[in-house]
Subunit: 216 residues, 2 copies
DNA sequence: GCGTAACCTTACGCACGAGTAGGTATGCTC
DNA sequence: GAGCATACCTACTCGTGCGTAAGGTTACGC
């Protein structure tokens, strides 16, 4: 009414695409800090430097907004890992590169990742979303195992593979959580440790066998 | 006022301890089905066959109630696993028994476990609670590894052990989630698969080496 | 220079559910 | 069988925060 030019002297009108990204940035930040429920649309809007109805106009309801966050972050992560694929390498190399990319990504997006995915695990509407993306990862890992097995002339039931892949993915997620909680930890080192336990197994670790990252 | 004897013809007055257990049962059920936030105290009260103020009188606020659920379920789980300890067995035996007990418990408390712990991961107030109990598990596993290592005259930094233990616990939790989502799956079998990946590692699995449960 | 469409605001309605006030019945003790 | 503690109820208050109605303001095309 009266105080109009209070906050920003010249207040920029920005095109939709830009504002949407700002909003998503803010949303990820606030959802991370507060958790889905405790986060308020007002705070997100304020953090984005915009007013609430704009958020509704562009990204829809709170749930839709959260899902949009999930999608963007997931896409980024998949992209980061996809670059490390190289399907013609031996399995240990592929596993190593995948893990390195994964932990590298998490390390670079600590607050983003951790709480976002921790959130998504819980509440019904997002669990499906999250499960879908986890399934993609599991499929990739299972496919890798299957590929390696066939190359050795062996074959294993799909369920069996899925469960093993699931365990590996789960272990990685846990270590990702650990990484997100320990700001001083190095992603590369964490990936190496994960590689050790996943590739070698506890029996060999106890016997002093260790796996070390290749020169590259 | 008028409809008093509607629900239960003879309505029993029960001692506090009994009612508290009924309330906790109901709370676990409702929290599981709906998630922490979506669960309403009214629904919990109704499910327990009691009115809301009783819940407040006995178990306190919604948060306190949830924490009470967590504590009870955690205690039950620790108890179930503790019985399988046997510290003088070789490490593979100990790991196997621990895993079997763990998955057995989860299989027997499917709705209880899954959503309760999935919930707790997310929201701030409970994360601490959950982290504490997870830390106990991690310590146990790390201690086991340390014990085994010393017996072989080797020694490893505590952080190193912790991370490996963390990965193992994480993988188990993931498979527990998987188990909770697949009603047809057998706990024993799941434990075996977990044992395979944890003890042997991917490299040996690919080579066709498998671990099989002992006759016991 | 003027319309119009996109951008952006303030200010509110409204539902929902946590937590409570105050009162009633029941059993146990002496 | 009076008294007292404990179990239990109905019926509210009230904060909080999602989602929206209705209206300003700036840029851009013509």
């Amino acid at each position: 009414m009266l105080a109009r030019v209070s906050s920003t002297p010249s207040f920029k009108r920005l095109p939709r695409a830009v504002r949407e990204q700002q909003m998503l940035d803010a949303a990820v930040k606030v959802f991370s800090r507060r958790g889905f429920h405790a986060a308020s649309m007002d705070e997100i809007a304020e953090d984005a430097g915009i007013s609430k109805p704009m958020v509704y106009a562009y990204l829809g309801t709170k749930e839709e907004l959260f899902i949009a966050c999930l999608h963007r972050e997931t896409a980024r992560m998949v992209l980061a890992i996809a670059g490390a694929a190289a399907p013609d390498l031996p399995p240990d190399q592929r596993l190593w590169r995948g893990l390195r990319a994964f932990f590298g990504f998490v390390g670079a997006h600590r607050d983003g990742w951790a709480v976002l995915y921790r959130q998504a695990r819980g509440s019904q509407p997002f669990a499906a979303e999250l499960a879908a993306m986890r399934a993609r990862l599991v499929d990739v890992v299972a496919g890798m195992l299957d590929h390696a097995l066939r190359a050795r002339g062996r074959e294993v039931a799909a369920t069996e593979l899925e469960v093993v892949a699931y365990a590996l993915v789960g272990a990685s997620e846990s270590l990702a959580d650990w990484l997100a909680d320990h700001p001083e930890a190095e992603p590369e080192k964490t990936a190496t440790r994960m590689m050790n336990v996943a590739w070698l197994g506890a029996a060999q670790l106890l016997d002093g066998v260790t796996w070390r990252p290749p020169a590259d």
